[in-house]
């Protein structure tokens, strides 16, 4: 069992958890992920390593309540424990030797983009971070992000923070204003990553994206996380999760992500109904 040593709400749908997992903490690197299972009847879900503390033997994860498993996870509190916590999986991000990097996070993706910015910043690489949210009320970890880069630009879809627009608008402005990025790291909803890639292709800037597809084992055994990169089949769990965004077949990846949409929605509805029942009891 893997005890939860800290739980912190980031906004109404995002939560940060620090989990005691000494073996994982000892080896984890930025860009890698873990797979967890809440209980015996639960799914195995992959989550990116948001941070780690080798001395204390803890790993930080950040999740968004999007379905039954993440809602179930969210019912656990400090002192509770996860049944399984497996990792570190996937390849660590290759961030060395860059001139100037733009790290882009979209919504929940900021939680995964943040450690990338932090790693670059700690290496001394100039890094700008562009974070996009629906509105200002759900902006999270703003101070952490600001501390992990040279310049933070927060965009909101509705302009409620006074900075209306998409992350791609901000990126284009930066590039047009002369930012000489030699790498863009984009992490967020698939559609956002796709649009970032369309933009950076125009300017010929290499773009790394982090895939978070459906998976089971995370060791290359099931092939469920496969995607097409440059016409070749790759497994996100062992060949990724980072890929050259200009080579990824996003349309296929998006369709695959929707494989179980109906079942997921039904399971989520059922779980919410049960939880409401429990609250009213």
């Amino acid at each position: 069992m893997f005890p939860i040593v800290k739980k912190r709400r980031l906004n109404d749908s995002m939560t940060l958890m620090v989990v005691k997992a000494p073996f994982v903490a000892k080896k984890a690197k930025a860009g890698q992920f873990i797979i967890l299972r809440v209980n015996e009847t639960g799914e195995r879900i992959p989550l990116t390593v948001a941070d780690y503390d080798r001395e204390n033997g803890t790993v930080t994860i950040i999740y968004q309540k999007v379905g039954k498993t993440t809602r179930l996870l969210d019912t656990l509190e400090e002192g509770d424990a996860l049944l399984d916590f497996i990792g570190p999986l996937g390849k660590a991000s290759e961030l060395e030797g860059r001139r100037h990097v733009a790290v882009i996070g979209g919504g929940a993706g900021c939680a995964i983009a943040y450690p990338q910015a932090k790693a670059l910043h700690e290496m001394g690489t100039p890094v700008d971070m562009i974070a996009g949210f629906r509105n200002k009320d759900i902006v999270f970890m703003e101070d952490e992000m600001r501390a992990a880069c040279d310049r933070l630009i927060v965009m909101t879809d509705d302009g409620s923070n006074g900075n209306k627009g998409l992350v791609t608008d901000a990126l284009r402005r930066q590039i047009e204003a002369g930012a000489d990025y030699d790498l863009v790291v984009a992490i967020g909803p698939m559609i956002m990553m796709k649009f970032v890639c369309d933009l950076t292709k125009e300017y010929g800037i290499q773009t790394m994206i982090s895939m978070n597809p459906i998976m089971i084992d995370g060791t290359g055994m099931c092939g469920g996380c496969r995607l097409t990169v440059g016409g070749k089949t790759k497994f996100a769990c062992v060949d990724g999760p980072d890929f050259d965004g200009h080579q990824v077949d996003f349309d296929e990846a998006m369709a695959r992500l929707r494989t179980y949409r109906e079942q997921e929605a039904a399971s989520d509805r059922e779980f919410c109904r049960l939880m409401e029942g429990a609250e009213h009891a």
Binding site: F23, V24, K27, R37, T41, G42, E43, R44, K68, T69, L83, D84, F85, I86, G87, P88, L89, I216, D217, G218, T219, G220, M221, C222, G223, G224, R226, L227, T228, T233, V238, D249, D251, E252, M254, A255, R256, R258, T259, Y260, Q263, E264, S267
Partner: protein
Amino acid sequence: MPNLNPKKTPMPEQDPAVRRRNFSEVALGYTEEMAVQEAQRCLQCKNAPCMNGCPVNVHIPAFLRHVAAGEMEEAYQTIVETNSLPAVCGRVCPQETQCESKCVRGIKGEPVGIGRLERYVADWAMAHRGETAARPQRNGRKVAVIGAGPAGLTCAGDLAALGYEVTVFEALHAAGGVLMYGIPEFRLPKEIVQKEVRRLEALGVEVKTDMVMGKVLSVDDVFEMGYEAVFLGTGAGLPSFMGIPGEGLVGVYSANEFLTRINLMKAYLDEYDTPIVRPKRVAVCGGGNVAMDAARSALRLGAEEVSVVYRRAEEQMPARKEEIHHAKEEGVVFRLLSNPVAVHGGEDGRVTSLECIRMELGEPDASGRRRPVAIPGSEFSLPVDCVIMAIGNSPNPLIRTTTTGIEADRHGCLIVNEETLQTTREGVYAGGDAVTGAATVILAMGEGKRAAASIDRYLREKRA
């Protein structure tokens, strides 16, 4: 006087019409009376040819003699002298090509049902003996086994019996490897696998799940932790795809994924959260046991039509005869001499059909089997909403790509000394599918056993 009936005592089975829609075990097992009667068919040959057919050399005539006399405890002790997983082997070994193929009774009739009797004895022991085992005297020396599949568990069991302190590291959340994620419940109940694992634990084997070796710990780390030898039983878990268009469509599964969702993750049970596509029309590509397992599982999920698409003829199918027979009984359609060429899908990215081409058998190829050749212009389309690729697996590279000094051939199979099963690195041994490529449970167990003996020899010499 032996029982002279030329036929095996029939195995009670679930009715095909019923079992094709449930996940309960197909073969129900002998009663004691049936077991005694079948064991009495054994002629007790002095030279025991059956034993030569067994990769772990079970003392077959001896255990059959005990069964014939109703001495089940003694029969069980005889089996477990050489076989760590009898309840598993009795169910999934290809006895037709092993022990039973050498049985003298098979010359003029059917061989003795050795597999069925092994199963009977193992199940008897589980029901009557519990999960206790006498813990051997420990010798204080640590050995690490990587992978809790058939090879690893056998190696661990043998080493523990010799007194070693054995830790088995398993990547998944449950021990058993392919016995848990691959072979379906209706052929091998998972509770039986877990009972065998608990029996090994009672023997002193420590099983650490959730440990993806190569990632969480390297082989070097393992040596630093005080383990004096390592056995790699990491299997062949990397699924192959055909490389045809449309394999990324939603509804195309590797057999590994399809079976893992059902077996390890229990997608067929309502109380589990694991989602799975519940297909109506399914095509399974391949002709091995895995293909049969996938096809029969698809039926049990409620599919209306399940086809096995195989490019050669039935005689060349690598699956056990019994599996093919069971699949046919349950209504699986065999589309032989047919090869998939493309998967087609709709605008939503979901599978709508599998395009195939008819094949004919030409000259024998390197494997000695006649090579299938496409008949030009014979393409045809199967309307399906699910395609399962069961065309093979290769060894997982996680360990060798994170460890220095462990070499593999161009197929990714680990290179070992054929006699000792030591890899190209001292103190590191390997066996099972990681070495041979995808093969059978019992061959992997045989290698686990040999490796355990080699490791014992190596460690005794090292100390001397």
